[in-house]
């Protein structure tokens, strides 16, 4: 197993999504593991055993158990350190981008206006506005036809997340057309943006007719 571990290079499992798949299985793997450790160690406490050979076997088992437990403690620490940093990073990312955008929407967007966003949970919760989820996870229409859903709901604001901050400039204050299909165009103007280490989330004001200053 150690040989396999050496040969099999550990991947950088940076996402919690991989762990979410595994989590419900964890108690069913951890509990027998812990019981196995306890059973192996309990050999140590049985002192009525007078036969020399059995004593030697018990000592060997305890030694192996302790070595293996110590070996396991190191990755336990490593994984704890990695995941607690990941938790803080993920919380900070969601808080500084999605939650902040939601709060900005609540303060700056009209109460009857609709908003469209590609990850809409925090934006809907904090924004308190009618929200179209463009990912389709919370909206069947967007899943079937994103462009059609936008044209039907006509959101006053579209929020998108990009990895390339250089493509959006609030200072330019320009409208840009977004083609949604043949003859269907929505005009977008960036009005608010948040940049968190390359996670660039932008709110675009929308116009469904060519704007005067276009």
């Amino acid at each position: 197993m150690v040989l396999i571990a050496c040969l099999w290079k550990m991947d950088d499992l940076s996402s919690y999504a991989d762990h979410m798949v595994f989590q419900p299985c964890a108690p069913f793997l951890a509990a027998p593991w812990a019981a196995g450790v306890a059973m192996s160690l309990s050999t140590f406490t049985e002192r009525t055993n007078n036969e020399r050979r059995k004593k030697e076997l018990a000592a060997a088992l305890v030694l192996i158990t302790l070595v293996l437990v110590v070996v396991v403690l190191y990755p336990w620490r490593m994984e704890t350190v990695r995941l607690r940093a990941l938790l803080a990073q993920d919380c900070l990312r969601v808080g500084a981008t999605r939650v902040a955008m939601g709060k900005w929407i609540e303060a700056n967007v009209g109460k009857d206006d609709a908003v469209a966003a590609d990850e809409a949970g925090a934006i809907r919760y904090f924004g308190k506005r009618k929200t179209l989820d463009l990912s389709g996870k919370n909206d069947a229409e967007s899943l079937a036809d994103k462009a059609g859903a936008i044209l039907k709901a006509k959101p006053a604001l579209i929020v998108t997340a990009r990895k390339n901050p250089s493509r959006v400039s609030l200072e330019q204050d320009l409208w840009s057309p977004l083609k949604l299909g043949p003859g269907k165009v929505v005009y977008l103007k960036p009005v608010f943006a948040i940049d968190l280490d390359g996670d660039f989330i932008t709110a675009y004001k929308t116009s469904y007719e060519p704007p005067r200053d276009f």
């Binding site: 989590q23 158990t65 969601v94 939650v99 609709a114 919760y125």
Partner: protein, 335 residues
């Protein structure tokens, strides 16, 4: 040979009266030490995760790490207002990923309205409370399954200190609830409490649909007698009702029997082989199984379960392996 050693150990422990007396004394000491020890594990691990400073702040105390956590709060808010799962007045419906989790969150939404505190504050404490309940469930199941207070206690400590589950404790998602329900269902089935196992399995399926894999194992390992057939029907009926209701709700709200979040997650570039290896590696990256080293202890523990419960131990042992590898096929890898 290993299972022989385990069964020999159990039988000798049972037969010698002196040993039994010593075991009782030892268990009494373990029982006394258990509550402070588990409380320490819980506080220690929570402190590690909550008090991690980043950019001069403690983000884990203020926000949830996933956007999906806030989506479930939106559904909880809707459920508390009009007993309906509605994401937004625009667009068509969808329904939450975990209906039971949103239902559990909904009383906190009402509470927040009355008290004026943000709803995410009481919800923040819900999963840690369930994590404490999970430790109790695992202890109770482990003590019965492995035949000792120490075994149950250590199992509960391992689950409490599990780094992945610690993350889940503060993620505002349904995972800890699902673990509680699955472990309790397994315990109930081992104790031949069929109605409890059936109800808990149905609730687990309402939390995460892939939990139904455990129910299938209960059905597969149930005895083949006429009474066994009756028990099988009792086991599957509530879960089938849950899935039927869910499918009908999806069809009514979104025009499809499968919920939109499920279909949205089905990546067209899906490669089962790739996903299988990613999840397999994630599991083997868990500290207690670290690259297979922990498997030695796992096999000893599993052998102890089999020697006590025979086929009644099988679902708990079999469940992790296909679920671990097959749950990505349910579209869970991009949550």
């Amino acid at each position: 040979m290993l299972s022989l050693w385990v069964s020999c150990k159990i039988t000798t422990m049972k037969s010698a009266p002196q040993k039994a007396e010593r075991k009782e004394r030892r268990e009494a000491i373990f029982r006394l030490a258990l509550i402070p020890a588990l409380a320490f594990c819980f506080i220690f691990s929570s402190n590690l995760f909550l008090n991690f400073q980043l950019d001069g702040a403690y983000p884990a105390r203020e926000y949830f790490p996933l956007d999906a956590s806030y989506s479930s709060l939106v559904y909880a808010s809707s459920f508390s207002r009009n007993a309906r799962f509605e994401f937004s007045p625009v667009g068509s419906g969808a329904g939450p990923v975990s209906p039971l989790w949103s239902i559990l969150e909904s009383p906190f939404m009402l509470l927040s309205k009355k008290t004026g505190t943000p709803a995410e504050v009481p919800v923040f404490f819900l999963a840690p409370a369930l994590a404490a309940a999970l430790a109790i469930c695992v202890y109770s199941w482990g003590r019965e399954s492995f035949g000792g207070v120490a075994m149950g206690g250590l199992a509960a400590a391992a689950v409490t200190l599990d780094p992945g589950l610690c993350y889940s404790r503060f993620s505002g998602t349904e995972i800890v609830l699902c673990c509680c329900l699955l472990v309790s269902a397994c315990h109930a089935w081992q104790e031949k409490k069929i109605i409890a196992a059936s109800a808990l399995s149905a609730l687990a399926s309402l939390t995460r649909p892939e939990s139904a894999a455990l129910l299938l194992l209960f059905v597969a390992f149930e005895s083949r007698s006429m009474q066994g057939l009756k028990r099988r029907l009792t086991l599957v009926a509530p879960t089938l009702a849950v899935f039927a209701a869910w499918a009908l709700f999806s069809h009514r709200a979104a025009g499809h029997f499968l919920p939109p979040w499920f279909r949205a997650d089905l990546d067209p570039s899906f490669s089962f082989k790739k996903i299988y290896w990613v999840t397999l590696k994630t599991g083997f990256n868990e500290p207690y199984l670290w690259w297979g080293l922990g498997l030695i202890f796992y096999v000893i523990g599993a052998a102890a379960m089999v020697s006590r419960f025979k086929t009644r131990a099988a679902p708990a042992i079999v469940f992790p392996w296909p679920t671990w590898s097959l749950s990505p096929a349910c579209g869970r890898w991009t949550t």
